[in-house]
């Protein structure tokens, strides 16, 4: 059976943001791993390992949250305005 347009209740714009919640977890993990890892390396070199890792982890989380915020607000920019202009059904 061929797929008709009415078989797809969700628009492409909506679909592209639907995985954003999963993706934010992935960003957070990546941020903690990468910047925590850099902190660990710096700690190996300079001493005060715990302080460097903790600072790296915090920086990684902040950057991951910023990235999530930037992605979400950029993606939703088109859909949000069009949604508000649409008359309520």
């Amino acid at each position: 059976m061929k797929a008709r347009d009415t078989d797809f209740p969700i628009s492409d714009a909506d679909r592209s943001t639907s995985d954003m919640a999963w993706r934010s977890v992935s960003y957070l993990t990546a941020g903690i791993l990468f910047y925590g890892g850099i902190g660990w390396l710096l700690g190996q070199y300079f001493g005060h390992k715990s302080a460097f890792i903790a600072a790296g982890v915090i920086i990684g989380i902040v950057l991951a949250l910023y990235l999530t915020y930037a992605r979400v607000s950029f993606m939703e920019r088109d859909t949000t305005t069009s949604d508000l202009r649409k008359p309520p059904q």
């Binding site: 992935s26 990546a30 791993l33 990468f34 950057l63 910023y66």
Partner: protein, 272 residues
């Protein structure tokens, strides 16, 4: 053997002073069966036997369903059609879109294989969730990973696939130095790792929880009021948890398949 003899027999119970034998991760490392096949000595673990059995069940079911398909479906055929339509409408078309129909066989086999594998955790006689051995989720995730990286390189171009993901839109140019590592790590490392760990950890923890309460029911069974009440409560919790675990098993299979569809969909359409 009735309950009274179990409660008073000379084993580890509440007042015998042996302490609660809490189950730990060792219950997942069973002694492998050894057998000799064509002169080769083989060690086969329970999870491999169960996985092969599950593969056989799933293949047999779908072959039997689609062998003699008619316009007016028989009972078996309509069950198979429901299964197919569930994957197509709830996962493939909902998440991937118009190109989704091509991936229904892949997503369908993935979903039913994982689901029946998980279900082996509560089937009497088997009672070992296959996906609680980390190797199985990892192997499935590697398959999915290769699929979506290949599809992304094919549909977006081998270099474009990475540059599209590496430079997030809507961010000042100076931030790219800080954020590009996160995007690339997220795409290539944490995505597959979290996908595998999520399935593994849920099955592992669920099985451990059920085992703990089952062992608790056995341990508390002793000729005293606290023992009898505690044992009954623990057994009741086991029954409730088994029902809950069956729900989690279906849910985790669904989430794994859904994430696969999300990643495939993300590889097919470049973000802008």
């Amino acid at each position: 053997m009735n309950l009274a003899t179990i409660a008073t027999e000379d084993a580890c119970h509440l007042n015998s002073g042996c302490g609660f034998p809490a189950p730990n991760a060792e219950i997942f490392f069973l002694e492998p069966y050894s057998l000799t096949l064509f002169g080769h000595h083989l060690l086969i673990s329970k999870s491999i036997i169960l996985a092969l059995l599950v593969a056989l069940i799933v293949i047999t079911f779908f072959v039997a369903v689609s062998r003699s398909s008619k316009l007016v479906p028989s009972k078996l055929q309509s069950i198979g059609e429901q299964a197919y339509l569930f994957i197509r409408d709830q996962i493939a078309r909902e998440v991937i879109g118009k190109e989704g129909d091509k991936f229904v066989p892949f997503l369908g086999s993935l979903f039913f294989f994982i689901w029946i594998c998980n279900l082996m955790g509560v089937v009497p006689g088997a009672q070992f969730p296959v996906m609680s051995s980390l190797a199985f989720p990892v192997a499935l995730t590697l398959m999915v990973y290769i699929t979506y990286v290949y599809l992304g390189m094919k549909h977006q171009g081998p270099i474009k696939f990475f540059t599209n993901a590496a430079f997030p839109p809507g961010v000042p140019k100076a931030m790219y130095v800080l954020l590009t590592p996160l995007e690339l790590l997220g795409l290539l490392v944490t995505r597959p790792v979290t996908q595998a760990i999520r399935l593994f950890a849920n099955m592992f923890a669920g099985h451990l929880l059920i085992t703990t309460f089952t062992v608790g029911a056995y341990y508390l069974l002793s000729p005293s009021i606290i023992g009898a009440l505690g044992s009954a409560t623990s057994f009741g919790v086991t029954v409730v948890l088994t029902g809950f675990e069956m729900f989690i098993q279906g849910l985790q299979a669904f989430i794994f398949t859904l994430l696969t569809a999300v990643y495939i969909g993300g590889s097919l359409h470049a973000e802008h």
